[in-house]
Every structure is written in C-alpha cells, then in structure tokens.
Amino acid sequence: MERTRKRPQCVALEGALRKRARLPCRSLAVLWLCASALACGQTQHQAASVVDYLYSGDVGRLEQEAIPVLRLPLRVGVAFVPSASFAEEPISEKQKIELLKQISAEFEELEFVQSIEEIPSAYLRPRGGFTNVDQLRTMFGIDVIVLLSYDQTQFTAEGWTTLSYWTLIGAYVVQGEKNDTHTMVDAAVYDIESRKLLFRAPGVSQVKGRATPINLEEELRLDSDQGFQVAAADLVTNLQTSLGEFREDVRNQRTQVQVSEKPGYTGAGRVDLLLIVAALLLAAAAPWMPRKPR
C-alpha cells in the first residue's frame, strides 16, 4: 500500500490557515454577544390613535360646540382608524374584521339602531380628520361612527439566565428573554354631525411571556396577537356596559344629547313582557271569578 506523506512546508501552511479560520468564528461570537447585550431593555411601541386621525390633520381648527341630536333609528358605521406611521401594523386585517364584527353585533342588539356598516380600512385616510369622516357619512349613509384605535407596547428584558448564552447552546434552549406586552383597544363613538364624542369604551390586556433569543421575534408576535385578542374581549364587555349607561343617561336626560325620531321612521306595535304578564294574570284569574253584572 502506498502512503502519501505530506511535505513539511505543507504542514506549516495548513496550521496557519486553521488559526485564521478560528478568528472569524470568535469575532462573530463576540459580535453576537454584544448584540444580545444591546438588546437588553428593548421597547416596541405601535399605535393607531383617534386623536391623530381626527385632529392632527386640522391643526389649529376649533370645532364649534354643538348639542348632538340623534335622530332615531340610527345608522352606525364601525371602522378602525389608520395608523399614522408606515410601519407594519401589529394587528392583521383578519383580526380587525373579527373585532369589527363583534362590535357590530353589540350594536345590532339595540332596537334604535337601523343598520350597521363595517367600513374597510381602505376608505380611511391617515390623519383624514372629520373631512374624511364626512366623506364616509355620505358614502355609507351613516349618522354615528364607532372609531376603533389601538396602542400596544412590548418590553423585552433579560434575566440572569442569559449568562447561559455564552455556551451558544443556551441561546437555543434557555428562555432568558422576558417579554411584557401591554395592549389597549379603544372604541370611541362619535355623532358625525355635531362632531361630539357620545361615549367610549376601552379594552386592555397585559401578556407576559418568555423566549430564547433565537425565537424572540416569533414570541413577540404571538404575544402581540394574544394581547389583541384579550383586549378585544375586554372591549366588548366594557362596550356593553357603556352602551347601557349611555342609554340610561339619555333616558334620564343626564347627557347633552337630544333624541328624536327621524321623519319617515318605521314603527312597530309590539307588546312587552309587562303586558303579556298582565294578560296572563287576567286569564288565570278569570275562571275563578264568574261574571256578576251589577
């Protein structure tokens, strides 16, 4: 069998190359650890604000104070205000549509609401103000608009377990990143004609989670989704309460809102529970009390 023997010059060259190859690996590891250290205490904030949408486009313009007159039955529009920034929104269109449907369902329960329009985001212009809302009023034939907005902040901090990242394997298995996601979804109900805020309802959530540096982005996205889901459920509950309170305030004239029927309204002659109970009691009592004319 013939053996290949390396010459001494070749052996020396090979050793030098191996040493050079270790240098980039070590540099990369150092850079990565530095990046991890810099990532400590990261904060992400994303929002779509009603104030930005309604008022930032018309800076300096003052709305005249007017008493809202709600002409029943109401035609209501529901829409998400667009974000003023061009960054990717943390809430997907699918989630928006789901929330719009939930909010619509709450308003459909009200007998003084004639129709609900779920207005797609494409019809709302960032910082469009009441000019944009007036356009929506004409386009969709609505009297009142429910503007949904959100505000989400995600904090990421690192615990002592991040020391395990030095082992490289630790970065894959140890969840040293502590995430905290605060979400608020808000529904503000405006009378378009008077530009008056009729009432609002908030929904809030706080989601805590942990992640490895490798799947940090994915975990933050999942926390964001969960934050919106919990906040949306909270919003729906609070909206029911706010709607009930608003109705009572209008009924007891505790709010500066006038209510009148729209000319040409549809009316229903319907009996309520009280009348049915009264008729039932009469029917139950009648057989025991024979007719005794005076």
């Binding site: 003084f112 029927e261 009316g267 009469l282």
Partner: protein, 213 residues
C-alpha cells in the same frame, strides 16, 4: 242581539279572537305583506285598507308571537266571559287606531303590529270588569292601573318598560298603545248600555254557575 254576539251565544269558541289571530298569521305567511302594511304615503293616496290591515302585518316571527299571545289572551277572556261588543271591537279598533295614528303621528312612515289592538282588547276587558261586582272588578281595576301607567310612561319616555328588542330599527310607537287603550275604553263604555246578565244552561263562563243577581 246583533249577529256576532248571537253567534257567540250559541258557540263558545272564541271566533272573533281566532279570526284576528288567523288574519295576522295569514298576512305574515303571504309574500304580499308590502301591500297590507301601514304606509302613510300609500294611505294618503287612497289605499285606506292599510289603516286596518297594517295591524295584522308584523316585521319578525318574535314580533308576531308576542302580539298574538297578548291579543289571544285578552280575546279569550272577553269571549269566554261573553262580553258584549268584543266582536265589534275587533272590527272597529284596527280602523280607529290606524286613523288616530295617521292623525297623531305624521312622522310615522311605516307601521306594523297588533299591539294597539291588543291594548284595546285588554282595556276593553278591564273596563267591562269595572261594571261587575266582586273580586274580578278589583282585579280589572288593578290591570287598568298598570295599563294606564305603562301607556303614560311610554308616551313620556318613548321607551318600553320591558323593552323587547326588535332588530331593523323599528321604533316603539306609544301613540298606537294610547290610541288602542282609548278605543278599547270607549267601546266598552258604549257596549255597557246593552249589557245583560247572560245565563246559559251550562253555567257561566268557564263552566262556573252564575249567581244570577
């Protein structure tokens, strides 16, 4: 004795009540409801039948069910007690309530529902009860008190005391209830002059023996 009353004296079936309930069910079932519902514009152009048939038209099954229950109970009591004038009430009340709505609610473009006539029937039973003796008189007085308070509350607040939600934005029409209560009271008072003690071989209403006083 007039024809409807004579028929009722022979047969104890609540014919007038069944006729009204049947009409409401029929109108709800047929697709021509738009031709029968109360529409102010059409009435003004001469479609006067809508003043009457509008009460038989309903906007949903729940709306229909609640109204049929209330009217059915009131009609059953009236006919079992052989209250004179109830058949006339079934004929007159829809027309009178429709005409009063036309006069008192000019903003009301479209209306449907039997509740005005149901209130007329309950008011009729209550007022006729006031002309009797015994505990029934006080039961009727209490029922009339509740009815009056309800109508006044609705007129003042334009809200139902126990609101039954009706989707589609159809508003409560307190004028219909007030008109119904008024018409029921008037018919009961007018029928009083012809009230007689009805004695039948089988006893009084529900099979109870009348004391004949």
């Amino acid at each position: 004795m007039d024809a409807p009353e004579a028929a009722l004296s022979r047969v104890r079936l609540p014919l007038a009540t069944a006729t009204v309930l049947g009409a409401a069910l029929l109108v709800h079932a047929i697709p021509a409801q738009d031709l029968l519902v109360y529409e102010r514009g059409a009435i003004a152009q001469g479609e006067l039948w809508r003043l009457m048939t509008g009460h038989w038209a309903h906007f949903s099954a729940g709306h229909l069910g609640a109204n049929l229950l209330a009217f059915g109970l009131a009609g059953f009591i009236a006919e079992q007690r052989r209250e004179r004038g109830f058949a006339w009430l079934c004929l007159v009340a829809p027309l009178a309530v429709g005409a009063l709505l036309f006069a008192l609610a000019p903003g009301l473009a479209r209306y449907g529902g039997l509740s005005g006539v149901s209130l007329a029937a309950i008011a009729f039973v209550g007022v006729r009860g006031l002309f009797e003796r015994g505990l029934w008189r006080w039961v009727c007085a209490l029922a009339l008190g509740v009815l009056g308070a309800k109508v006044l509350f609705e007129l003042a607040s334009r809200e139902s005391l126990f609101a039954a939600t009706l989707s589609g934005g159809a508003a409560l029409v307190p004028e219909a209830h007030a008109a119904g209560a008024l018409v029921g009271t008037l018919v009961a008072v007018l029928a009083r002059s012809s009230v007689r003690n009805v004695r039948s071989p089988g006893g009084d209403a529900y099979g109870f023996e009348s004391d004949g006083r």
